[in-house]
Amino acid sequence: MQSSIRTPYDRVVMAVPVTIPYVRYSIESAQWWIGRALKALVDGAGITPRDIDGFCVSSFTAGLDSGIGLTQHFGLCVRWIDTIPLGGASAIAALRRAARAVQAGDARMVACVAGDTYHVDSFRYTLENFSRFNQDAVYPYGAGGANASFALIARNYMRTFGAQREDFGKIAVAQRSNALRNPHALMKTPLTIEQYMSARPIAEPLHLFDCVMPCAGAEAFLVMGEDVAASLNLPAAKILATIERHNAFGDDPVQVRGGWAVDIDELYAMAGVKPDDLDVVQTYDDYPVISMMQFEDLGFCRKGEGPDFVRQHDLTIDGSFPHNTSGGQLSVGQAGAGGAYLGVVEALRQVLRLAGPTQVKDARIGLASGFGMINYDRGLASGAAILAGPGA
């Protein structure tokens, strides 16, 4: 393991994991959802909006508003602001930027929020306006959102590494079983491997239960100094390490790995832990194949061993490898940019032992990862963070 020369996130912590319960369709705006999340942060921390002096926001559906317009909307007066349009990697990026801002004294308390609404026609609108390459070279081919792109990635992964649909199914089924313990999960009925296998095809080899259900919702957390958290009596988690990498491995003809693979040694070196030391793992799961790819790229097994890794582990909350304990996006729902936060917020809850019915026993150290932005043929943005709860 190489040593890290990066500055550790000393005396910076995360606190107040917030999830505004998702709904399939909402007539409210993204601003409404972001507002609910801010309110929950303020209430959860026992502070007033004036105590927030840093604001970091992500949303696909806030229309014309970036973070700055939202400050006036919500009556925030901040001295540090960021709007992060990195899709599924937004939460890791938000955490990294907020933590450094707090560490440098540019902000004392940063609210990191993602919220999206889901109207009956929002999905199509988001698709049509996603990116230039997508508009020019993907959307005209009948691609139903990211489904076609991930179908091609999954198909190639199966051909190259021998993954079977059953292996992806095991991930989805385990997450459903976790979700049944999470009252906020939109999916409320058990899923069997037989149901997974016999589901209708969406974009082969993807079938219904390989795909997330888009929905409305919001997620948030606070980043602040250790002393601030202590003065507010807030349970807080340390940030042991983070990584972020964009547009990696551009020469791979089809995506078989994400940017994590570039920086993974540094992630563990900075954290001073090994993959085995992690008590709980939250991967970005817009499709099971991407979670499987992360098992490899995040160092739990070697490239190509993802299918075997899944076969050899129980991925449920009480299993040998507790994974996506909230149910993940596959069973909780994908609330737009909130999907990026879902795993990070759940990891925070887990290491703070605030996860309630989905709590992994004695969870101390957790990893959360992010992945996003299918600009053309692959996901460009990736990131990961390792968090440690009190006493870790």
């Binding site: 005209p140 009948g142 139903g144 076609a148 091609l152 198909r155 190639n156 082969e204």
Partner: protein, 413 residues
Amino acid sequence: MIEPIAKPRRKNPLLRTRLPTSPPRARSRASHGFTRAAAEGRFMLQRCGACATFCYPARDACPSCLSADLVFTDAPRRGTLLCGTMLHVPADVHFRERAPWRVGLVAMECGPTVVAHLHADCEEGQPVVMSLQLDKSGQAVAFAHPERETPNMADDRQWREMTAEPKFRRVLVTNGRSIVGQETVAALKAAGASIVFVGIAEPWKPFRGEDALRALEGVEIVPLDIGDEKSVADLAADIGGKVDILVNTTEHVRAGGLLDRQGTSIVRDEIDQSYLGFVHLAQAFGPAMRMRGSDGVNSAAAWVNILSVYALANWPVFGAYSASQAACLSLSHSLRAELRPGGIKVVNVFTGPLDIEWFQTVPPPKVAPRVVASSIVSALKRGLEDVFVGDVAEDIRQRLAANPKAVERELGT
């Protein structure tokens, strides 16, 4: 392997006609380099002038060296299909009603990876040959074909969406008196058109080739004088709902420009026959065609204009004629835009002087009517939009691209 498509049965008049829907149209400006290539049936990619890297999708800077010198260049068509997927639940209406729809990722031998529509005979891991096509939105898309000819290849469902294949379609050729018209009828019949209606003005007047035309099976002579608004409207009332391809073979060629003519009667004739004739046809047949762009195997598919290449640059020896052709060209762009909601292609076939009586005094090379006819059929089968037939047309096209002012001066001497 593709099952051959069956000849469509007579349409049930009680059923609603499915309305056309468009695939997504939005494109960046740079991406219209592909539109230009697709319109002419070329396969072009951007290539960096500084480091020779081919790239895709369309960019404004080279991803290898950041040079802005990206030029659309004819590119090698070969690639390998890395993986494919069958889309069962596409997001937009157009593809949803055509599902399942197959697309794939193609690694081009020249470098880039291209998302493409797939011919059904393309296999993963096998070589494919790429083309750029205009889809029903009129915009360019990449299409992957199997490397070698396969049985019933042109009957592929997805390929047929990209073309105006004449097989099993019903065609109106507007002027059967001209040799070009007669050759076009024969070529379309040979290409599998189920019926060709042939317009004849003043049918009581005999014409050369009449017996041969009448002897062709699946050819129906209809009265049509396109300079006469009522004649055109009458014919449209009769057959307008079953014209899938319209080929405007109007031919009204007279020599001369401005100063050697007295008055405007000849010019007026030229305008009446070429320009107003086009207007009459468009107004009578266009709306029904636009409604029938999604009407099954024999949906309305294309409108073909035969234009003089001197529509693009005036040749004063035939100066007024050139101007009437320029007017028709301009009008064709309006028609193209107006037919787009129906997914109907407007094909402009540009020719140099034809080897016909009206160009008797013009020296060779001249274009044989049979070549015009075969170019029309080929354009329909390949789904092209701009076609240049013969050496003169190609010469003018290239010279215009190089220096339009030089063309003007040189044609004017």
